[in-house]
Structure formats: C-alpha cells, structure tokens
C-alpha cells in the first residue's frame, strides 16, 4: 500500500515534532523505539521507558503493538515481556487515531489510572488495591532501578566500555596462558 506510507511518515513526523525521541529500527518504518517519560502527578514521574512500537502492514486500519522494553511495575503491563494489553489499542482502534494520540493520551492515562480489574500483573494490582502507598513505593523502586534516563541512553556507552575491557582481558589472558605454557 503506497498511500498509507504518507500516513506513516506523517505520524512519525508528528511524533518527532512532539518532542519524542524516536529511534528507527531498520528504516522500514515498521518498528521503532520511542522514549516515553512517566506522566507527572503519578509515581512514574521522572522515569523514562523505552517503548517498542510496531506498525502492522494494514496500519492505520489496524492498531500498532506496544511493548515496554525496560521493566515497569504496573498492573496492566506484563513484567516479563513488557507487553501491554491495552483495550483501547486493540478493540476500539480507529484509523483516525495516531501515534501521538497513543503517547499523549492513552499511555499516560493508563499509567495514571491503572485498571486493576483486568490486570496482567496481578501482584501489582493487588498491591495497588490493598496499600496504595506501598504500591507507589514499589513503582518508584522499579523506576529507580530500571527507568533511569541513563539506563535508556547509557546502554550504548556501557557496551563500548565493556568491549574495551574484554579486549584487555583477552590480551592478558593470552599472556597468562602463554606464560603457563612454558614449563
């Protein structure tokens, strides 16, 4: 479908213009990462989550798939896989919704008002109902652990330093082995 590519471009552009950091995966305009900041006035505030968006072929007639890359503690997000069974996304999707809608309205709404009656993360739902303060505390803990801004942006840096060390390490181990081989 050629003409929907204009739609995809527009949506992506609108997303980028809306000050979202978008990172494409392999230039096909099918999948990309978006950095999503926790909405203010929620315990998620201050955290940054990397969200993987996949646009199906039939986009915009079919809804995009949304998943959290780094861990988030939320009743409606699966902790292991990060996927969101967002009812709005799947069931009531309309071709007139766009990505900015998703990131401006749906996701913040989900984070601000989790739906404990249909939880993917049951423990989180139960905690939220039982002890709101503890729930918020937990959210913050996870946020500190997994959703620091550096976690999102720092990953590539860490990788390079890792490689450096491993290079060093291989050298030294070689020497060591060489040394031992003597006698």
């Amino acid at each position: 479908m050629s003409s929907p590519s204009k739609r995809r471009e527009m949506d992506l552009m609108k997303l980028m213009m809306g000050d979202y950091k978008v990172e494409m995966i392999n230039d096909g305009m099918q999948e990309f990462y978006v950095d999503f900041h926790g909405p203010s006035e929620s315990p998620y505030h201050g955290g940054v989550w990397r969200i993987r968006v996949e646009l199906p072929d039939a986009y915009p007639y079919k809804s995009p798939s949304i998943g959290f890359v780094n861990k988030i503690y939320h009743p409606n997000v699966d902790e292991m896989s990060g996927s969101v069974c967002l009812d709005v996304i799947n069931q009531t999707w309309s071709p007139m919704f766009d990505l900015v809608n998703v990131f401006e309205v749906f996701l913040p709404q989900l984070l601000l008002y989790p739906n404990p009656s249909d939880p993917l993360n049951g423990e989180a739902a139960a905690l939220m109902m039982r002890d709101r303060a503890a729930y918020e505390q937990r959210v913050k803990e996870y946020r500190e652990k997994y959703a620091k801004p550096e976690d999102i942006g720092a990953a590539p840096e860490e990788k390079s330093s890792d490689e450096e060390l491993s290079e060093d390490e291989s050298d030294s181990s070689d020497e060591q082995v060489a040394g031992k081989a003597d006698p």
């Binding site: 003409s3 993987r52 249909d118």
Partner: protein
Amino acid sequence: MRKAGRTGVRQDQRHHHSRLNEIDENWVLRPSVDQEPNLIQTDLSPPSSPSTSSATESRIEPITVSLLVSNRTPRTRQNFKWVSKNRRAHAVKPKFVKRSELGSPNNEVGSLNSLDSDIGSLSIEQKVNTKQEKGGDEEEGEGRERGWRETIEVSESVEDVDGIFSRLEKFQLGVEEPELSEEQLRINDQLQGDELLAMESIYGDNVFILDRHDGLRSFQIHTHIEAPSGIAITAMLNSSDELQTKIDSSDDFSYSFRVEYLPPILLTCLLPKPYPSHLPPYFAISVRWLDSSKISNLCSKLDSIWREQLGQEVIYQWVEWLQSSSLSHLGFDKEIMLGTCGKRLTGDRRAVSGISSPDVDIPLIKSYNDERHLENFLTNLHECCICFSEYAGTEFIRLPCQHFFCCKCMRTYSDMHIKEGTISKLQCPDTKCGGMVPPALLKRLLGDEEYERWESLMLQKTLDSMSDVAYCPRCETPCIEDEDQHAQCSKCLFSFCTLCRERRHVGIACMTPELKLLILQERQNSSQLKEEQKHREREMINEILSVKEILRDAKQCPSCKMAISRTEGCNKMVCDNCGQYFCYRCNQAIDGYDHFRSGTCDLFPQEVIQEWEERINPRQVLGQIQAELFAAHGQACPNCGQFNAKIGNNNHIFCWACQVHYCYLCKKIVRRSSQHYGPRGCKQHTVG
C-alpha cells in the same frame, strides 16, 4: 398623437399578452450573439458627442432587422444558436435559458471600462434632454406609483416566472409611456443593450435574459447574499395574522439557526422603450425569505435610487445596493427575522414574497444552504484525515454523521473489516463517532462479492445473536430450536437434530464425526450409489476432513465453537465472533487475567517470551546461556539479584538485567573500573 400612440402601445401589449400564454414553456431564444459585439465595439470610438447618435444611425439597420425577424418568425428558434447552462443550484428554476457568454470575453472586459464611461457620458446627454420633459415625468411617476398599490394575494410564488412577467406587463399597461423621438428611442435602445451586456459580464451566470418579441428587453438577475461567518435566522413559531400589533415576545416560541448562504434575491426587470431617458425599468423583487412589507421597503429604496439619478442607467446600482446594503437597510445584518405571509397590507405589487409558513420556509432555507455548502465542498480540495492525501471534494464520501473520508480509505477500511469478518466494527472511522455506515453506501463502495459477504455476515450475526436459531440442513432456512436439540423446518418440514444436523434421533446419541467419516468413505466405494448422491457425500467427506484439519491446529471458542488459531501474542484470546475471552492453552472461558495467575496456564508460552527477549535484549539471551555454561562461577547481582556468570577469568561482571557492573570478588557494584581494580583493589582477572 399621443392618444394614438397609447392605443397603439396597448394593443401591442395585449396581443403580446395572449401570445405569452401560448408559448408558455418555450421562450424564443436570442439569435446568435455574434452580431452584437460588433455593434457595441464600434460605438466606442466617438464617446461623448452628439455625433454618437448619428454614428449609430447607420447601424440601426441590423437591430431593427433582427427585431423584425424575430417578430415575424416566432417559431424559428431552431435556427438560432444557443448555449444553455442550467444552474440548478437553488430552488428557483427559471424557465428560460441564459444567453451564452459572448465569444470574446477579453474584448468584453477590455471594452467594459470604456463602455462605462460611454454610458456615463451619454447619459449626461440624456439628462439634458429629459429636463425639458421632467414636468411630465413626475406626473407620470406619481401615477405609476399609485398603480403599484393594490391588495396582495397570499403566498405568491417566487418561482412563478411567468406570473412575474405578466405582472410586469400589467405595470406597463398601467403606465402612460411618453412618445419619444426616433433618435431618443435609438439612444435608449443602445444604452439598454450596453447596460445588459455590462450586467452579463459583471454578474455572469446570475443574469437570465428573456427574449421577447416586442423588442423590449427583460431579464432576471439573481443576487446571492453570502455571510461567510454565518447569519442567524429567527422565526417566530406561533404568531398569527391578527396579532400583528402585539409585540410581546415572551409568549412566542422562536426558532433560530445559522446559515452561510441565503437563497438569492431575484430582481426581474422589463425595460420599456423610454428607459433610461424617461422611465425606470419595470421591476419586481422576489425573495423567498422576506415578507411583502420588507420587500416593499426595498422597492421604495430602488425607486429613490432611480430618482437620485434620473435618466441614467440604474440596474447596476440597484443590484449592487441589493447585494451590499439591502440587509442592513432592513436592520437584518446580524439576524434575520422571518416574517409571516398574509399580511393584509396594501403593499407594493412589485414585491413578490416567497414566505408561506415556518415549516416550509425553514427547511427551504436550510436545504439551499446545504446545497451551496455541498457545491462548495465538491469544488474544493480537501485533505483526508486518514491518509493525508489531498483530493477534490468529489472523491470524498460523506457519512450520515457528516464525517467525510476519501473513497480509497473507506474502501480499504470496509474491505479489511469484511475480510476479517469484524463487521460489527464497520462504523464511522471517526474516533468518538461510531455512526452507522448505510448499506446503500457499502453497496456502492464494495464489489458485489464483498457486499454479498457483508450481507450474509450481517444476517448470520443477527441470527446468531438469537441463540435458539438453527439452519435446516436441507433448505438452509433458519428455524427455531425447540427443547431437546430438536428443530423442524417450516419450509420443508424436515425434522432434525440441531447438534449433528441429521434426522431427529430420539433416545440415540449423535453420530460422532469419525464414525460418520468412516461410513461415508465406505459408501463411496459402493456401486449402488447414484452419481449425484455420491457427489454429495463426497462433499460431506471433504467438509469433515476440512474441519478435522482446522481443528488440528486451532482451538474452538468455548461459547460459539468458532475455530480460532493464534498467529502471535499471549494465551488470552478473544473470540472475534462472539467476544468471549478464553485461554488458548486449556480452552476454558475466562474473564480477565486471573486464570493465568492460578498456576496452570502461563500467559505467554515460553517460545513467545523467548522470541521477544531475543528481539529486545540479545544480551539477555547471551547472559542466560553464559549463566548456564558457567554456572559454577557466578554471582548474583547486588543491584537486582540476577544471577550472572563470570566469563573466563574476568571478575568484572555486567548484569544483563539491570545493566550494572559489579565485581565477582567483592560482590559490590563497580562504577569506575579503573579505580576498583588495580594493585590496591580487587584483582580483575583471577582463575576460579
């Protein structure tokens, strides 16, 4: 001499009048217009000198010839060239045809300016002449005005063009027209012709010219009043004639609405021979949304405009005034009060009001407004809000809920839903609307096949929602199910079991599909079977085999038994057919995620998680493999507790789960490796 002239005129008029009734529908059309431009253009050369009249003298022949021609041969309209342009944009449908646009518009425009100056300068001449006869004029004017006042009939029809013209002729009958010299008549005729051309070039499609046999020009000009920011129209709903004097608005109900386009004001004119030197045109103003008194007001204003500049062409001023100032003159520039008809004032006969009653007028005004909006929409480019491409208005489809989308998008959208079978979601794509898509529109949009599929899906869906409906195996008609899985078809009277769709078997269980398959396959080999029967049973075998194949991979929805196979995602499935949630692993009907917490079924099958992780975090997989390989030497991460293996001799461990580095030896988080490892700190490389 005057008297003779008068009777002469009168007879002519009467004669004309009867003929009008004959050729009611078929107005004679103007001869080819090529002749006219020549006449006009050559007149431009000598502007304001008395010699103009002499200049036109020689050219009078063509005019009179053509007049004579038209007088003598009323039925030779087929010889005349004409280009008609039907404007059906509004309710009023004039029964005569617009004169074609002149062949060389450039010349027209170029000559227009000079025309104006000509007219202006010529009319100065006229004024000089008319001053002498002014005394007579005024008398006539008064007589004429007296003639206008008559009682008005209720609900005059604005559309009745013939009626209006006959009225104009009556006006003419009531007026004593002055006898003029040949020269004066020629001048007037010239001026009239010029003026008409000017009107046509200015107002284009809005001028409708009527050709007549007595050489008098008549036409109708439509003045469209537009209010881009909208104008309010208010109608009082329970006023009646007798309560004219009562201006108590608290008891009355009023209804107000806004429009951007108003039905046009029609100015119908009949130019007498003494126009513009002595007499103004006979005119009538028709408005569908003003009552007679208001229109009379307008008529008086037109009269005063004429009086301000006696002897000059006045049509343009009239039309311009109607266009720009008529509403404000009536005090209607922000809001129009719809009056009522039937006011038994002795009003102006020149006022033709189209008002009848609010229940007729309001829909009329609204529909005119809608038509114009639609016209406007169709001719402009718009952007479709789904695909963001620009198309002309004609490529768009508008739903009853007023939302519009381009044809391509609607088609793709409908096709997709029909292919998927999710016709219940086939509604207005707008986010909050959910308006219905009318079946007629779908029929136009889809191919025949898809439309049929839609129809059958709709029927199926409706019947399925009625749980006790079963289809007769023989004639496929829907039947109502009784108790005990039994149904009888009303059409063919076949009594069958709703479970296995065979003949009713009381007390015996249904035949299993496997057994049925075996029996059928056996029977295929039988020689006693007739060809047709054999073929039918072959079909049944295929059907059973297909179902078997489907069920091999797929699961059945616990409530409607629809076969569903999962392509991707988690184990929480939604049946598209009935909306039931169920677990793909164990096939139970569920509600929410509780089922997946109880322990038996995982929400995500392991393969899916694995795939996801490989895509998201390749290092996780690596880390997990390494953890297994080097399980002996590993340490739980001090930050998140994830077990990570020590790679080789390197004590500097990177936790794939929380992305933190830590030391295998001292089990602490390491932020700066150069500081932590070294002669004084931990050794980075140790064996074991």
